[in-house]
């Protein structure tokens, strides 16, 4: 596995040392005001503070010859290294992912935040639903495995995987695939790739399946939040199999070391998802009123919950 650590410039990798989420005894209005002030200070720190030492972009070459990158922040060595995985088609720069990483860094954790290549070297942006998707679940899991090995090659013994949305699913799949039963996973807004609200619907057949052309095997069908997802049938199928049921199965297999933070207002979640998750060994933490992206003040609740889980 080839790797490379690049110094990062222009990236907000350093946060103010004092986390505002630690003081939970203050009244709520005052607390919110303080949070706003602190967020403003954070932005100012991001604008003014020089690049912090220890922040680096790490690249690896995947099995498919693409270059994948991750941002690694070295934290307290005594604390576990957190591998944060973004959601479906997203990057590590996605809002909630970035917020989680920052919060963890602020709390002294070493964080490795990769962006899955999805078959594209140095992918920097979220991949559009409408793009031609030449990646599959297997490649994604291999990349996760590469990043885990990269951490372990640096002497990291305790790794905690934090995934948002389908990233949590992929970490769950990775742990199942590679039998990493000792790795703790924290899933935030865990969900599968079934079309929203159509969990039970069967994937549509590929339009060009019968054609003897390179694109004849392409399938254009809904997947996850994508109304139209175009990919070779096998690749499509590799994601498509990770339905709610498949997740529940995986949880049941590796559930004891799994924590799940679910918003009660997550409209992306399959029906009765909380109840169904509750039937697994995983510990489910509810964020009242939070949606799939933990927006608003629910983000802080989610982060507090996350930090609480890590401190446990």
């Amino acid at each position: 596995m080839a790797e490379k650590i690049l110094s990062k410039s222009g990236e907000a990798v350093t946060r103010c040392a004092q986390s505002p989420y630690k003081n939970r005894m203050l009244p709520q209005p005052i607390l919110r005001m303080r949070r706003c002030l602190l967020k403003t200070l954070l932005v100012m720190c991001w604008l003014l503070a020089p690049a912090a030492a220890g922040a680096a972009v790490v690249e690896i070459r995947t099995a498919e010859k693409t270059v994948a990158s991750a941002e690694f922040h070295q934290g307290d060595a005594a604390k576990p290294v957190i591998l944060i995985l973004h959601g479906f088609l997203q990057t590590r720069e996605f809002g909630i992912v970035k917020a989680i990483a920052d919060a963890l860094i602020d709390n002294g954790y070493s964080v490795l935040s990769p962006t899955l290549s999805l078959g594209i070297s140095n992918r920097k942006r979220s991949l559009d639903c409408e793009a031609l998707h030449l990646h599959d679940m297997n490649g994604d899991l291999q990349e996760i495995q590469q990043w885990v090995q990269w951490l372990r090659s640096r002497g990291v013994e305790r790794i905690v995987g934090v995934g948002h949305s389908f990233g949590a699913t992929q970490l769950l799949a990775w742990r199942e695939r590679y039998q990493e039963r000792n790795v703790d996973l924290i899933g935030i807004s865990l969900m599968g790739v079934s079309p929203l609200g159509r969990e039970a619907a069967a994937p549509p057949a590929g339009k060009h399946a019968a054609r003897n052309r390179p694109d004849a095997s392409l399938v254009r069908a809904p997947l996850s939040f994508c109304e139209t997802y175009t990919a070779p049938a096998s690749m499509y199928a590799s994601y498509k199999q990770w339905s709610a049921d498949r997740i529940l199965t995986a949880l049941k297999r590796t559930g004891p070391r799994t924590d799940l933070i679910q918003g009660t207002a997550d409209t992306f979640a399959p029906p009765n998802w909380e109840e169904r998750l509750a039937g697994t060994p995983a510990r489910v933490h509810r964020i009242a009123g939070a949606n799939h992206f933990m927006e608003g003040t629910h983000e802080f609740d989610m982060l507090d919950t996350l930090l609480g889980i890590l401190k446990r």
């Binding site: 594209i120 070297s121 140095n122 942006r125 409408e130 031609l132 694109d215 175009t230």
Partner: protein, 746 residues
């Protein structure tokens, strides 16, 4: 300096033409200035268009850079370069919807690092590119402006040395520029390459070779359109104004002035034709013009009246001019005019014409004897008498003192004679004694007839009639003579004009005259006389007195003729051609007795009275005028030694009164009386008795025309003192040493 003369309509038209031209010139200047300004603005717009093109091309270049950056940074570009298996689908389905390629560009193709088109690429795309063209925007003459291409190298993150591949954006230049730039000055659709090169050009070079068309300024166009429309409206307004004004001026000024001008011109053009002068009765709208119209109309009316009066006067004058005041007949002028009119009326054919000339016989003596008033009355009576018997329509003219004429159109000889005899008869019937004239008054008529053609001269016909007149006046004539070509009498008449010439030549050159002397033989003692008888030598012959004396009388040349004869007789006496002792008898007209020089010349002859007794023969008719005056002169001559003889006694009138009043010594009986003596009739007795009576009264008697012995015996028996005639002697020319005369006197 010549003044341009135009009608008011022409002036008005000229004014509007000049005004229109001026306005057109001003409009032209305005348009010229407008177009000039427009041209300046166009120049500015050309510069602005150049800048605009440059700016647009810069924008295009910048946009291409942005496009390149966007393509390079797009993850899917690298995805396709790394995994081109589905490139065809991606390019066809994904790329158009991705929003990566600017709408300014029409196409994007991806090539691998070797420059080959990714598999599945469009057949329309270039199969390969030249990696060396990376970063260039190229114009291919074969593709034209519709397919400009720009090749971008696609690098992996942080690896600028080796490209992953290439992306080529192709586009239509005009479309791209229009998309990127809002053109205000140039028309992008009309961009064209000037002198298209044979090789590819980069964008910068292409820009230098672009031809562009400047968009016409809408403001200028609108301004020009507004100005042009304004000028058109102005021109239309001018046209309408000009036409209206023209019609207005025409109605108010031009037509009235033209009518006035016509009226005044008509007044000037033909003063005798008032119908040519237009009436000016309708009133004019302009007061001043109407005043002029009224004045012209008044003037026209006055002029018309004056003309009418003048015409009447002219008629009167013309009539008077053509009328003889004394007789009321047509005068000589009318005679000539009528002749000309008649001759002019002939057209290519001829008509017979008779000219009758009337002459009063012995009018001069009558006039002189009875005075002019009586003479005038005689003429009036003759005129009335002749005019009263003229054919209807024929005119009688008084062409001289006692000469009248008429033209008988279409008359032949018979008709002319008929009219002439009628005239003669009419005059004979007149009683002239009521005028106090005791002597018979008659007229002679000369007739000339000829075919008259157009253009003929009156002169020759008049000459013929004149000649016939002399023929008619000859003693023994019937008072009417017709000029006939070829007849003997007419031959004489024909030469009348020659005799006239001969007479005038003789008077001018007395050497042409010859004096022939005829003896008057004494019967009972006493002196013998030689009567001087004149001959005129002409053309080798001799003209006798019967031929030229009428000319002398008609031309009133008696005094001149007598003077010439006296001089010749004096020459004969001076040359002693007349034998000594022989008397000389000279014929003398009464007119010569009025001439002092004649009297003086005669008295001059008396120096020969001692050797040559002198006698003056006064013709009976010539004694008529101025009897007292003649008596006075005759008394002088008688006292100077002349005997006075009354010649041709018996052929004239009132001889007895003359004999009583005049100092006459000798009476020469006319041969007509002497010839009567041969007859044993009452006339012979009367003549015989009258001869005895005269002899008893103390007069010496001379018998003329004695031609034989019988007549000789008769006159001897009657006591005549002298006898003359061919029985005694014929007139002959005397020579200075004439033997015959010498013998006679010896």
């Amino acid at each position: 300096m010549n003044t341009v003369r135009l009608s008011i309509s022409q002036w008005v038209a000229a004014f509007f033409i000049v005004l229109s031209l001026t306005i057109a010139a001003l409009c032209g200047i305005g348009l010229y200035r407008l177009y000039e300004t427009g041209a300046e603005l166009d120049q500015t717009r050309v510069l602005s268009a150049q800048k605009e093109l440059a700016a647009a091309m810069s924008e295009l270049a910048a946009h291409l850079q942005q496009q390149g950056s966007a393509i390079s940074n797009w993850d899917e570009t690298r995805q396709q370069l790394a995994k081109p298996d589905y490139y065809g689908y991606w390019k066809a389905s994904r790329l158009p919807r991705a929003g990566i390629v600017s709408p300014a560009f029409s196409n994007l193709d991806l090539y691998d690092r070797a420059g080959r088109l990714l598999p599945g690429g469009s057949a329309k795309s270039e199969a390969s590119i030249t990696p060396a063209d990376a970063g260039k925007t190229l114009y291919d003459p074969l593709q034209g402006l519709s397919r400009i291409s720009h090749l971008f190298p696609i690098y992996a993150e942080g690896r600028q040395n080796t490209p992953l591949g290439y992306a080529q954006v192709s586009f239509d230049l005009v479309h791209a520029l229009k998309h990127l730039h809002s053109f205000s000055y140039l028309v992008p659709e009309k961009l064209a390459v000037r002198n298209p090169p044979l090789h590819t050009l980069e964008l910068g070079e292409l820009e230098k070779n672009l031809n562009f068309t400047v968009r016409t300024s809408l403001e200028i166009e609108r301004l020009e359109e507004a100005v042009t429309r304004t000028y058109a409206i102005l021109a239309l307004a001018m046209l309408i104004s000009a036409v209206t004004a023209y019609l207005f001026v025409q109605r108010l000024l031009a037509r009235p002035l033209a009518r006035l001008a016509d009226a005044i011109g008509g007044l000037q053009a033909d003063e005798t034709r008032m119908d040519y002068v237009p009436a000016l009765e309708s009133r004019y709208m302009l007061r001043e013009l109407d005043t002029v119209r009224q004045s012209v109309q008044d003037y026209r009316q006055k002029l018309s009246d004056a003309r009418l009066e003048l015409e009447n006067s002219n008629v009167t004058f013309q009539q008077q001019a053509l009328q003889d005041a004394l007789t009321g007949l047509y005068n000589r002028r009318a005679f000539e005019e009528d002749w000309e009119n008649l001759v002019r009326a002939l057209s290519g054919h001829s008509e017979p014409m008779a000219l009758l000339l009337f002459d009063c016989d012995h009018f001069k003596p009558i006039n002189d004897t009875y005075g002019h008033q009586v003479g005038d009355l005689v003429l009036q009576t003759i005129a009335g008498a002749v005019n009263g018997v003229m054919r209807a329509g024929d005119r009688l003219y008084r062409i001289g003192g006692d000469e009248f004429a008429t033209l008988l159109w279409g008359a032949d000889e018979h008709m002319a004679m008929l009219v002439a005899e009628r005239c003669l008869d009419s005059v004979r019937k007149e009683d002239f004694r009521r005028l106090g004239v005791q002597e018979p008054v008659s007229i002679s008529i000369g007739i000339a007839i000829d075919e008259i053609s157009k253009g003929d001269d009156l002169t020759y016909l008049q000459a013929h009639a004149d000649s016939a007149m002399y023929q008619a006046k000859r003693p023994g004539s019937k008072k009417i003579a017709i000029y006939r070509m070829g007849e003997a009498s007419s031959e004489d008449v024909l030469v009348a004009s020659l005799e006239t010439n001969a007479l005038y030549q003789a008077l001018a050159e007395p050497s042409r005259m010859e004096i022939h002397y005829q003896r008057m033989q004494p019967l009972a003692g006493g002196s013998e006389y030689l009567e001087a008888l004149t001959r005129i030598r002409h053309n080798g012959g001799l003209l006798m007195p019967a031929r030229f004396l009428p000319v002398v009388q008609s031309r009133r040349l008696e005094a001149e003729f007598d003077l010439a004869v006296i001089r010749l007789v004096q020459a004969s006496l001076d040359s002693e051609a007349i034998p000594r002792g022989a008397g000389v008898s000279i014929n003398l007209s009464a007119q010569s007795l009025h001439r002092p020089e004649a009297v003086a010349q005669l008295i001059e002859l008396t120096r020969h009275a001692e050797s040559h007794p002198l006698m003056l023969e006064i013709t009976e008719t010539s004694l008529v005028p101025q009897l007292a005056e003649i008596t006075h002169f005759l008394g002088i001559l008688r006292s100077s030694g002349f005997k006075i003889a009354l010649d041709d006694f018996g052929s004239g009138y009132s001889p007895l009164r003359y004999l009583a009043d005049l100092p006459v010594d000798v009476i020469k009986f006319d041969m007509s009386l002497i010839h009567q003596l041969k007859n044993n009739d009452r006339t012979s007795v009367i003549v015989s008795d009258f001869a005895r009576l005269m002899r008893d009264a103390g007069y010496s008697l001379v018998a003329e025309g004695v031609e034989d012995e019988v007549m000789m015996d008769k006159v001897v028996s009657l006591g005549f003192s002298h006898v003359q005639g061919f029985f005694i002697d014929r007139p002959h020319l005397l020579q200075p040493a004439d033997a015959k005369v010498a013998t006679l006197f010896n």
